[in-house]
Symmetry: C2
């Protein structure tokens, strides 16, 4: 609809020119709040985002034509080159593909079957970083545990030569995911030959969830795979009934030499303080299932499109506003580390870092971690220091600009894995927060697909990143100033 | 907990003897309503059902130790023998395994992969009755249609040698399921080599749904499989973007000679009119995925346990109350037909038939089809005749007894596939109705498992069948009387 869009653009340009002439006349007795100062700019950005179709077109291309994007896969490199070329065409002040060496794990063919009592296929997904089985597979009786304590209490003889099944309860992602992470090594220490882990989700339709696992140095490496909550529950009940179950697991999974990858970086240079940087983005890699739509394609597109709309509106923030699509968040965090390393001492000029990595459900606001040396935990929350309180107050003034789209909440605690290395250097870290109703239903599964993303929420997230990113980059004084 | 249970049984027996002495003194001016007449009996039955554990234990055994139960499988025969033996132990007046020859379709190994553009596994389930592929599989480009009309409008050349993908919208089970049923033959007529059908569900977590398909006489038999809504949507978007997709489909599926099976029949003989029969039940077979928990294991157990509780309470209905666990509902309806055929003319003595085959979510009441010659549609609803209105009024008096468990609604329209042959002879047919919130999420999938059944709802359904079955079998006059 080019004519409608041209009209919308025209009306936006008019309002932008009104905006640009406003700050001067707003100077009166008390310094205006950020809410007052950026009301019209925010209005222009929100209006542009809520009428934008290009973000959805980009996300459709990324998820449909390119697909999922595991580190080392041709799809991830295809996505990176496509984003770089598109960004150059869009005419940002700088577009850089920053080289990063990434782990290169490949799944290969894999399957699992119940052999005893009744042969049947077990839906499964090998865990990322897992070794494979011998070509003929591993066939062994299972031993079911509901916790690490239960495993430890078992006699080694009860575990030796068996496949340990973690039929653990769902106690939220943070708690349940530990069995995915270190379940294989804990089982291997007791002599197990493989580990099957209940998928980390509270809602399943026979859906296995993959994700990263890691091997301890002091334990044999045994193959590890996720099974569905349904099958974990079935195995638990069979064990409780004293009924033996034998499973055959076949996985070709292996780790190849590190592969070449890149962080995709695009920016609008600061008009007054080009060395001061606000960075925002998500991770461009995904697991090798589904389409990486919520995790984390939509976030990458929202950040990219936010920058594109700021550029289209002809806005020039005082500081540099940079979008980074980090590589290798899922199984290595190499992108986030490489970005921080390349900054050297310039990390102190990073005014704020915003990561969106909780899916693109209905957004509600931002969470912020504002203490120096804070890690990248998405869930951490502490009592804010006076300095953090000052920052929170400024962020709330910006948040107020987003109340009209239900996304104005500013809470303490937030960040992201990719911006963790920056936050550990004292850079204030923000996470875009959503309602998180279904994210972990889709997370790391074949169901993380475009049909699960509501275009309205992509537009809302785009609006939020545009407003928060622009104001942080443009506001009088840095976010962290006294 | 034997001691608690013995106490409960004792107190129930006391209330039952009170009940049995009541009808005489209740005779006054106007004939009492069924609600008044059976209030105490219903109370005893509801109390027994809501404190019952045996039903849950049976369902656990059926779904966990035996598992799913496709016609011709060893598991179905195991379930039939187990039920027959258990029922004999429980001491019903008659337990019969009625022989039925059933179709014997086997799935064998099966898989699907995207070959172009990026190789990946496609979650899938072959459709019941489908033929297999050659051992090397079928590898072909896909052609995507969103309806039969769209398929028909295509030039035959656009379909020949291709795999037709039905990326159809979800318009409710009744509408969408037609593509599962006749999609393969419609595609074969245009020269397709295989058909992939969007699973018939409105809610998916990358979950394929199997179910029966059938071949037209005049079309080549090509293999047919269900894919996930996510992948159907992806293929539609790829087609819209003009991007070719090639799929490899490998299925060992085949039809074997008919197998031996049985309807499981247990009854309490009528104390006054043993030839008059109220029959209730579900189908004991299931698809060969998941555990056949909602479809239709829980229903079978609820009907069986209802009869067991009536017996435990020492209640003797005037007419015969019979439970039938029909075989082969899913892919042949041979059980329902064999049951009707064996009755011969005695079908006229069937007072009512109750089927539960909509899962064991929270039950709300019964739907009833009360016109002679009505088919077995679960969804049909018509304006009732005066005779039907009389029956509805009697059923509502019984329904009132179930209002205390939120299950007293009596609506027009209902029945079931297995009781269809009886209903076509004029037998009033009832369906136990539930909220139906998630049934089609689980239906015919690996997610139809015990963990999806709330034990409280199994108890409620048991109470409903006990009360409805007992009152219909015991009430003064037959349900259909003038």
């Amino acid at each position: 609809m080019p004519s409608t869009r041209s009209l919308a653009l025209l009306s936006l340009l008019v309002s932008v020119s009104l905006v640009l002439s406003k700050p001067a006349e707003a100077q009166s007795a008390a310094p205006p709040s950020l809410t007052e100062l950026y009301k019209d700019t925010a209005g222009a950005l929100i209006g542009a985002a809520l009428t934008d179709d290009e973000g959805w077109e980009k996300l459709t291309y990324l998820t449909t034509v390119i697909g999922n994007r595991l580190s080392g896969s041709p799809q991830l490199e295809q996505a990176i080159q496509w984003a770089g070329q598109s960004m150059r065409r869009e005419g940002f002040d700088k577009v850089v593909l920053q080289p990063v060496k990434v782990p290169h794990w490949v799944r290969g063919k894999e399957s699992a079957q119940v052999v005893v009592p009744h042969p049947r296929a077990l839906p499964m997904l090998g865990l990322g970083n897992s070794v494979g089985t011998p070509p003929e597979g591993i066939t062994a009786p299972i031993v079911v545990v509901k916790s690490f304590d239960e495993l430890k209490a078992l006699d080694d003889k009860a575990v030796q030569g068996k496949i340990v099944v973690y039929a653990v309860p769902w106690e939220g992602y943070g708690k349940t995911v530990q069995y995915r992470g270190r379940g294989a090594s804990e089982a291997a220490r007791k002599g197990a030959v493989a580990a099957l882990v209940r998928s980390a989700t509270g809602n399943s339709l026979a859906t296995p969830h993959t994700g990263a696992m890691r091997y301890a140095q002091d334990a044999p490496k045994i193959p590890a795979a996720a099974i569905t909550p349904e099958d974990a529950d079935w195995m638990r009940r069979m064990a409780e009934a004293g009924r033996p179950v034998t499973v055959k697991l076949t996985m070709e999974a292996k780790m190849l030499p590190d592969a070449d990858s890149h962080n995709v970086i695009a920016e609008i240079a600061g008009s007054e303080f080009p060395d001061e940087v606000v960075v925002m983005g998500g991770h461009f890699d995904s697991w090798d299932v589904g389409q990486g739509a919520h995790d984390d394609g939509a976030s990458c597109i929202a950040a990219w499109q936010a920058l594109a709309l700021i550029k289209k509106l002809g806005l020039h923030p005082k500081r540099t506003l940079r979008v980074v699509l980090w590589t290798n968040e899922e199984n290595g965090l190499r992108g986030g580390r490489a970005y921080r390393k390349a900054l050297g001492d310039m990390v102190k000029n990073h005014v704020a870092a915003i990561e969106m990595d909780g899916g693109c459900e209905r957004p509600v606001g931002f969470g912020a971690s504002l203490g120096a040396g804070r890690g990248g935990s998405e869930e951490g929350s502490t009592t804010p220091s006076p300095a953090a309180e000052r920052m929170l107050s400024r962020l709330r003034q910006i948040g107020a600009l987003l109340e009209g789209i239900g996304a104005g909440s500013i809470t303490s605690g937030g960040g992201g894995a990719d911006i963790g290395p920056l936050m550990r250097e004292g850079v204030p870290g923000l996470a875009l927060r959503t309602v998180m109703e279904h994210y972990f239903d889709w997370h790391h599964t074949d169901a993380d697909t475009l049909d699960k993303v509501d275009p309205l929420n992509l537009r809302r997230a785009t609006a939020m990143l545009a407003v928060m990113g622009f104001v942080l980059a443009d506001m009088p004084g840095r976010l962290g100033d006294q």
